[in-house]
Each structure stands twice: as structure tokens, then as C-alpha cells.
């Protein structure tokens, strides 16, 4: 809804007591003199002594979806990894849980996504990225898996989508030679 203008009419009753009447639906485009005239006309119907009319303006900030103003926390436990370290971890044949991983902390309500950018046209070389989200702990694990021999450095960008409440956010995870 658009902005709203209220008129607060304060009058003094015949007993000398203040009496306030709110007209909660004045026209936002009405001029001050029109609103004053409205207050005077209404007051003329009463025995009250005219005192004052206050124009109270309410501005509704209509946020479009994705126009949130809260800044979410989006952090990574580790922001970089070297190829040597990755290979060591991958070649040990460890269980899935032992794959090179880092924890993402995110306290917003947007959807998380990840994308990988690297300078290679060789599609046989790839580096897999998966995101695991544990909603009960409000944490997300980034699992870096697959053949870690694409061109380096490569960057994994984790994005949190903007919502009505939260701004968009992004962090990067870099794998270097």
C-alpha cells in the first residue's frame, strides 16, 4: 500500500479537557490547507474549541521480493585449499566424510547455490562440487570431490539468494596449484 496520511485533531472540550480524534484515512495528496479545512469543518460540528490539527505521515516502504535489508552471515571455515593438499586427501581412499570439506555458516533464509569457474576447456578434467545442508544446525558443508586436476587456480563461488528479509551474499573458495 502506498503512503498514508492521518490527521490528528486535538480539541478542547467544554469541560476544558483535551480530546483527540484521529482521521486515519486522509488523502496523501491533499494539501495542508485542505486537511486544515477538514479539521475545522469537523470541529464546527462539535462544541469543542478548535485547538490544533496535526498531519501525521506514514511512509510504507514497500520492499520488492529480494529487497531485504538484513545482512546475513555467510562464511566459510576455510577459504582456500592447495591442489597438493586436495590430492593427498583424495588419494587416501578415505570415507566420504573425510573428503576435503569446509563448513559454510549461513544464518539467512535464502537458497544457497555454488558455481565453479576455472580456465580449462578440457571437459575430461573436472572438479565436483556438492553442497550439503544441515538445516537443524543451520550449517552447510561444501564437499569438494572428484578429479582435482582441472586448471588451477579455480574458484568456487557460494551464493545465498536475496529474500524479503535478507540481502544476497557470496563467498569464494579458491583452489590453488
Amino acid at each position: 500500500m502506498a503512503d498514508r496520511v492521518d490527521v490528528k485533531l486535538t480539541a478542547i472540550t467544554p469541560l476544558g479537557v483535551k480530546s483527540t480524534t484521529n482521521i486515519n484515512y486522509a488523502n496523501p495528496e491533499a494539501t495542508n490547507s485542505t486537511l486544515k479545512a477538514l479539521a475545522q469543518r469537523l470541529n464546527q460540528l462539535t462544541q469543542n474549541t478548535y485547538s490544533q490539527s496535526d498531519k501525521v505521515e506514514t511512509t510504507n516502504l514497500d520492499f520488492a521480493p529480494g529487497g531485504g535489508i538484513e545482512t546475513p552471515t555467510l562464511t566459510l571455515a576455510a577459504t582456500s585449499e592447495t591442489v597438493a593438499s586436495l590430492k593427498t586427501k583424495l588419494n587416501t581412499g578415505a570415507a566420504f566424510a573425510a573428503f576435503p570439506a569446509t563448513t559454510i555458516t549461513y544464518d539467512g533464509d535464502g537458497q544457497l547455490s555454488a558455481s565453479l569457474t576455472y580456465d580449462s576447456t578440457d571437459s575430461s578434467k573436472f572438479l565436483g562440487v556438492s553442497i550439503m545442508h544441515d538445516s537443524s544446525r543451520n550449517t552447510t558443508s561444501l564437499i569438494v570431490a572428484g578429479k582435482a586436476d582441472c586448471a588451477f587456480p579455480c574458484t568456487i563461488t557460494i551464493r545465498a539468494a536475496a529474500t524479503d528479509t535478507y540481502k544476497a551474499a557470496e563467498v569464494t573458495y579458491t583452489i590453488t596449484e
Binding site: 480539541a11 484515512y25 488523502n27 496523501p28 485542505t34 477538514l38 469537523l42 460540528l45 462539535t46 462544541q47
Partner: protein
């Protein structure tokens, strides 16, 4: 102590907006001699100036549909005398 008698008088002006909504302006201590011409004048003035609008979607003022005066007497009884 005697009984305490409080008399409240209100004037209720019911306004109709073109979106079908109505809103009532309540004024305390109305004059006793309000004429229908005065209400008609106010009605015309509101129609011409558009000073008030429906607060749901800003609908244009249509007309004053009803004006009532409400008189309420409250008596606090003195039960100790």
C-alpha cells in the same frame, strides 16, 4: 458521596468509499443543533476536495451515508450511602 453520572455524546459520520468500504469518523461533544444542510455541505465539500480516501486502496470518497449521534450515560453508583 453521591452517584457519579458521566454523559458522553458522540457524533458518528459514516463515509462510503467507491471501493464499497465504509469508515466512520467519530467526534466527541457534537452540537445539539446540527442541521441536515450542514451535513450536506460537508458531504459536498468532501466530494469536491477528496480530503479523505478509503484506506484499503485509496478509493475515492463517495458520500456520507449516515450520521448518528450517540449519547451514553454512565452512572457510578455510590453503594455506601
Amino acid at each position: 458521596m453521591a452517584d457519579i453520572r458521566t454523559i458522553t455524546n458522540q457524533l458518528k459520520i459514516e463515509n462510503y468509499f467507491v471501493d464499497g468500504d465504509t469508515r466512520t469518523i467519530t467526534l466527541k461533544n457534537p452540537r445539539a443543533n446540527i442541521t441536515s444542510e450542514e451535513i450536506q455541505t460537508l458531504n459536498t465539500w468532501l466530494q469536491n476536495t477528496n480530503a479523505i480516501v478509503g484506506d484499503k486502496m485509496g478509493a475515492t470518497f463517495g458520500k456520507i451515508t449516515k450520521v448518528t449521534t450517540v449519547s451514553q450515560t454512565k452512572i457510578d453508583l455510590d453503594l455506601n450511602s
